[in-house]
């Protein structure tokens, strides 16, 4: 019996889709059977981040409206044969699907997959309600900014109100240099405010932008962000993994140069 995980944040642009793509790919790399569902109807994005945009035939709305069988709509990933994507519809809107339909879909997929990842749209309206309908647990993504943290707090409240209590926090786009200067909240600060368990800290890493450009998730790569995402996957599977040291590991020369820059 699989587990349904919703990736949500409230605020837009904090990295929900990137997180879904990387965590999903990472879990598949660990041998799990995974399906990613883009629940943002009308604004589909997960397909491009995964590099699968050219393979879409059917979508989520087709599935719930029984225009096709689930299997027909699932797109197999380019790299991992145990990873699938159920893309969103681009021409419909969020009212095309109901929470009941999503719950039913989750229950069906749970029989075949180890993990079902729901990429939630921004906001707290029907799109959010659809995404959380069948969820067993949630990954709440935030960045260390006041707007994102405030929205995350609201989202955690709504998840609890909907009886989703296994909620974990991902602090995304952390910049250790700014934290050091006292100009960015640390992951500890964010955890203190939100009072929810931390499952990962992902540094602000230009490799993420590059990976999105090419449609190849960077999880498992040597980059700090790639390692951070893989650690999140291990923690989702219940393993204890120490948190990464996100300090810049500069070589001797760049350290030397940095002294003169100041």
């Amino acid at each position: 019996m699989g587990e349904v995980i919703v990736i949500t944040s409230g605020k837009g642009g904090v990295g929900k889709t990137t997180t879904t793509a990387n965590v999903g790919t990472g879990l598949a790399m660990q041998g799990k059977k995974v399906v990613l569902i883009d629940t943002d109807i009308g604004l589909r994005n997960l397909d491009v981040v995964m590099g699968l945009e050219n393979r879409i035939v059917y979508n989520l709305v087709d599935v719930v409206e029984n225009n096709c069988r689930i299997k027909q709509a699932l797109i197999k990933d380019k790299r991992y044969p145990n990873l699938y994507l159920l893309p969103s519809a681009q021409t419909k809107d969020k009212t095309a699907v109901t929470p009941e339909q999503m719950k039913k879909l989750s229950d069906t997929l749970k029989e075949e997959f180890d993990y079902i990842l729901m990429d939630c749209p921004a906001g707290i309206e029907q799109g959010f309600k659809n995404a959380i309908a069948g969820a067993d647990r949630a990954l709440v993504v935030t960045t260390p900014e006041v707007s994102a943290v405030r929205d995350a707090d609201r989202i955690i409240g709504l998840l609890e109100a909907n009886d989703i209590r296994k909620n974990h926090l991902i602090v995304n786009r952390l910049r250790t240099d700014m934290v050091k200067e006292g100009n960015m909240m640390s992951s500890d600060d964010v955890v203190e405010i939100l009072a929810v368990d931390l499952i990962g800290v992902v540094p602000d890493d230009e490799q993420v932008v590059i990976a999105t450009n090419t449609g190849e998730p960077l999880v498992g790569s040597n980059s700090k962000a790639g390692q951070a995402y893989m650690n999140i996957c291990h923690r989702i599977m219940g393993e204890e993994v120490p948190f990464l040291d996100l300090e810049e590991t500069k070589g001797f020369f760049s350290k030397f140069a940095a002294i003169f820059k100041k």
């Binding site: 006041v146 707090d153 609201r154 006292g182 600060d189 009072a195």
Partner: protein
């Protein structure tokens, strides 16, 4: 350089400012009642307590917040009231 400029300005770090602003914003976001209802409740509480004690109504602060229960790590919503008692209040004897 950061340390020196902060030192001379005597200014708070911007991350501390963010944290404090967030705490205030989130506390009021979490409030379960409307401001009107809170005001009404506050006035009723003042009325009842004033029967027994002289209280400082200006320093009074009532808010809904989240708190951890003593006997478990579960967080619950709680009504937190900070009601200062005036010097020399009735029914209140200093030791």
């Amino acid at each position: 350089m950061g340390i020196f400029t902060n030192f001379f300005k005597g200014a708070e770090n911007s991350s501390d400012v963010a944290k404090n602003r967030l705490k205030v914003a989130i506390t009021s976001d979490r409030a379960v009642c409307s401001p009107e209802l809170m005001e009404q409740m506050k006035n009723d509480i003042i009325e009842v307590i004033s029967k027994y004690l002289d209280i400082d109504t200006d320093g009074l602060d009532i808010k809904v917040t989240k708190t951890e229960l003593d006997d478990s790590s579960e967080t619950v919503n709680a009504l937190l009231a900070n009601i200062p008692i005036k010097e020399g209040s009735k029914n209140f004897r200093k030791r």
